[in-house]
Structures are given as C-alpha cells and as structure tokens.
Symmetry: C2
Subunit: 302 residues, 2 copies
C-alpha cells in the first residue's frame, strides 16, 4: 500500500515524484517503456529555463531521475493495464498496486496521418522520431508532414543527414515559431510543399514515394522519397481511464487548477491533460502542482 502512485516517468511524473518524495509520501512511479518519455524523441532542448545554450534531453532526464532516486522513490518498469479510480488500485503487467492517491502523467503519443501505406511502411521508411531514425537517411530525400515547432525542429535536425527535407503542410503557412521558420527558410536543404496533404504512401518493400493532393486545387502529384517523417500532433495515452474520468473530445484528461480530475484523489499532469501549451517546463510545473494537491488530499483524509 502506497500513499501515492504516479503513472508515467516523463518530466511531469518525475517532478511529481520529486515533490512527493520531499513531502515524505510513500511513492511508487510506474513507467511502461523507459524513464523520460517522448521528450527523448528530441535530441536537445533549448527552452528549459536554467540551461543557457540548451541541454541534451537525455542529460536533463538523467538529472531529474537522479533527484528522484536520491529521495528513495522507486521507479518500476511496469505497464499499467487498468486503474480503479474509486478503490485507487492499479493493475500492471506484473501485479496490482494500491495507494491513497494516484497521479496520471502518461503523456501523449504521435498522431498518425491515417492514409494507406502508413502502417505497412512504419519502420520501413515511415517514422515518428527523427532523432531516432535520421541517421538512416544520409544523402536521401525525405518528406516531413506537419506545421508546428516539433516538425520544424526535427526538419532542421534531418538536414544534418538527408539530402533534401520536403515539408508537407495542409495550410499556406506554418504554425512554428518565427525563429524556427527563419531557420527553415535559411536552410538550402529544406523545401516547402504547402496547402497539401499526403493521401498515400507507396513502395514495394520500403517507402518509395508519397501521393499528395493540393487542398485548394484538388490536384494530385507524386513525390519520390526515401522516408516520411510524421509530426502532426499528439494523442494522449489515456485509454486505461476512458469512461472513468472526464476527458475532452481527443481523450485528454480534464483537470482543475489544482489538477484534480473528475474522480476524488486522482490527479493529472503533463501532456495527458487538456491545456493550452505542451512543453517540458510546464509539464514539470504541472507535476509539482499535482503532487502538492495529492499531498493535501491525503492529509485531509488523515
């Protein structure tokens, strides 16, 4: 029996664990894949306050993890299968744990385009992680789908390896921050294919081309390429609390200012919750708030 179970060991979960550990709560952190979460799909983070010049995400996570384990908090690599929000029990791949309160910090995963060929070629030319796969595309031509900061950062990273990086975006301009857009425009390897969507990914054994359609003219064309990188947003990893907590239309958990959810004693923080900005720094801020609220909730229960 724990005071607190934290599901997920990304920046939000680790910060919640830091605060819970300092509050002397008997805390268990459960992590499905590995400590860090999807932030590790990015190589370097430049906008975490306190690290002028940027910090490697792996290094930042290592430092956060150290802080948590220094406090004696246990991080177990177990996949959560089911949560009982009333009983506060968590069924995992290994066993069933119970606690006085639960914090959900499971983050989000990349959204798929949803076109023919996407699943077939995943791992054979279709990728959701440039940091992981970019070195496979040395001197190759790649497509990147998306319009936001994540796409822009990864497109720039891809130019270190690829011959050309062609940005396919549905709108006539990107959503990425101006500083990143300037960098994209200055980079000779970057091409722009705007007002366009991918309709199919084709090839024999591996990706050889994408079919695209202009959203204004409905004109279709084929672009030959060796790889397709997808950065069109994220969906929350909240299926295990579907029908148990109040979620928004995309499945993000709805939480109040204190990060309490629709069930007493269940809190949500980081990218799995509905909010306006999804960044490491405010995931960490969330983690501190959720742990503080869980602590107050447990204290109120005696």
């Amino acid at each position: 029996m724990y005071d607190l179970i934290i599901i997920g060991a990304g920046p939000a979960g680790l910060t919640a664990a830091l605060y819970a550990g300092r509050s002397r709560l008997k805390t268990l952190v459960l992590e499905k894949i590995g400590v860090g979460g999807r932030i590790l799909m990015t190589e370097v983070i430049e906008n975490f306050p306190g690290f002028a010049g940027g910090v490697e995400t792996a290094e930042l996570i290592k430092r956060m993890q150290q802080q948590v384990t220094d406090l004696g908090v246990n991080i177990a690599l177990e996949e959560v299968l089911e949560v009982d929000c009333k009983l506060k029990t968590v069924k995992t791949s290994e066993t069933t744990h119970s606690a006085g309160a639960i914090i959900i910090a499971t983050g989000a995963h990349p959204r798929k385009i949803g076109v023919p060929g996407e699943d077939k070629f995943t791992g054979r030319g279709v990728s959701y992680c440039a940091t992981c796969d970019a070195p496979l595309y040395r001197n190759k031509d790649v497509i990147i789908a998306g319009g936001g900061n994540a796409m822009a950062e990864e497109a720039l990273y891809l130019t270190r390896f690829a011959n050309t990086v062609n940005i396919i975006h549905r709108r006539d301009q990107l959503r990425a921050s101006p500083i990143l857009q300037d960098k994209l425009k200055e980079n000779k390897k970057i091409k722009f294919t705007l007002t366009s969507v991918i309709t199919e990914i084709t090839g024999s054994n591996k990706v050889e081309a994408v079919k695209i359609k202009d959203v204004n003219t409905a004109q279709e064309k084929v672009i030959l390429c060796d790889g397709v990188f997808v950065y069109i947003g994220y969906l929350p990893d909240t299926s295990f609390v579907k029908d148990k907590l109040k979620l928004d239309e995309n499945g993000f958990i709805i939480a109040g200012q204190d990060l309490s959810t629709s069930e007493e004693g269940i809190f949500a923080c980081g990218d799995c919750r509905n909010k306006t900005l999804y960044q490491v720094i405010n995931a960490c801020g969330d983690g501190a708030v959720a742990a503080d609220s869980a602590y107050k909730y447990l204290a109120s229960k005696g």
Copy 2:
C-alpha cells in the same frame, strides 16, 4: 512600440521572456529592483527539476537571465507606476512604453505580522529575509514567525549563525513538509513555541523582546531575543492594477487556464496570480504558458 511588455524579471517573467524571445516578439522586460525577484531571498533551491543536489538561487537566476539576453531581449530597471489595460501602455519611473500585449509577473512580497514595534524595528532586528540578514545574528537568539516551508527552510539556515531559533506558530503543528519538519526536530538549536502569536515587538534602539500570547489559554509571556524573522505568507504586488483587473480577496490576479486575465491582451503568471502552489518550477511553467498565449493573441490581431 513593443509587441510585448513583461512586468517583472523573476523566474516567471524570465521564462516568459525566453519564450517570447524565441517567438521573435519584440519584447521589453521591466524590473523594479533586480533580476531574480523574491527567490533570491532563499539561498539554495533543492526542488527545481534538473539540479540534483540543489542549485544556488543566484546561479539559477544568472543562467535564466543569460538565456534571455542571448536572445536579445532587453531587461530595463524601471519601476512600473501605472498600466492602462485598454491602451496597453505602461508608465514607469522613467518613461511610458506601449505594446500589443502585457504580461504581469510581479510576484509577491512578505506579509507583515501587523503588531506594534514591527515597522519601528524593521532593519533593526525585524527581518523578512534570513538569507540577507542571518549573518548579523551570530551567537544570538532569534524568533521566527510562521509555519510553512519558507519558514522551515529559513529557520534551518538561521541555525548556521544563531544560538537559538525559536519558532512561533499560531497552530499546534506546522504546515511545512515532513522532510523539513524532521530536519527541524533533529536540530538542537531549534525551539518550538506553538499555539502562540506575537502581539508586540519591544526594545529601545533595537529588538530586545517579543510579547506572545497563547491562542488557547490567552496567557501572555515575554521572550527575550535579538531578532525577529517573519515568514507568514505573501501578498501580491498588484496594486498598480487594482480596480483594473479581476483580483481575488487578497489581491492575487485571477487568470484562466491560458493565463488570460479579465482584460483582453493582459496575461498574468507566477506568484502574483491566484493559484494553489507557489514554487519556482510552476512560476516558470506559468511564464511559458503566458508567453505562448500572448503570442497567439498578437497573431490573432494580425
């Protein structure tokens, strides 16, 4: 004419400036006293994720400031006297600035006890900053008023200098986190005077004693001491927007999830706003959210 004026250069304001700078907004940061804000009243911060073993607050602030100035954002030492929330103009001690949007990140200041002698002896035995003044109390006996984490941290710091540190607290137990309470109990220089309030601070030229009253028995007594440190909470620095923005009963700015206030184009972040937890990490998270919301607001205006 700026895109964005950020009032306050503590962790919230600096993180807002970091995000605004990366978004290429023409940004001016206004700071009344000095970059850093009230966090500098604490010597070391142990619960900022990414710094296992803790980091000196002065060092953390220096690193945050560097990140902001690296982006070319200007931090001006000017006191803000008046804000016109409709026109988005900011009148300072030096001049009047105008912008498309304003972020308020002015933080909070220590709450006074409000008893006879407090104002008279401020700077002559009464202090709101142990980090600043503790070395003046080497081998002396001091009182510290409060019950939360800030009090506990500063009481422990005072024991490095003072002979005894007597904690006066209104309730029968502290609110400080268990980890800090354990440290207090283990420290032989710490005394506890619980269920008690200070009713007067006395002396001739400097503090010589406090009068205290037991809140249960109404019994009064005098405790001789050389210094009185006050850690009984904070009040927001928001007087310049009184009657202009929606504030709570203590003057904290009320903001939505995107940190927009009751006036369009005015955003609030950090300790000056009504929220459940006041820590550096979520002040920084706030700063990122406010800058992102300001950016979106400005973009929507064209």
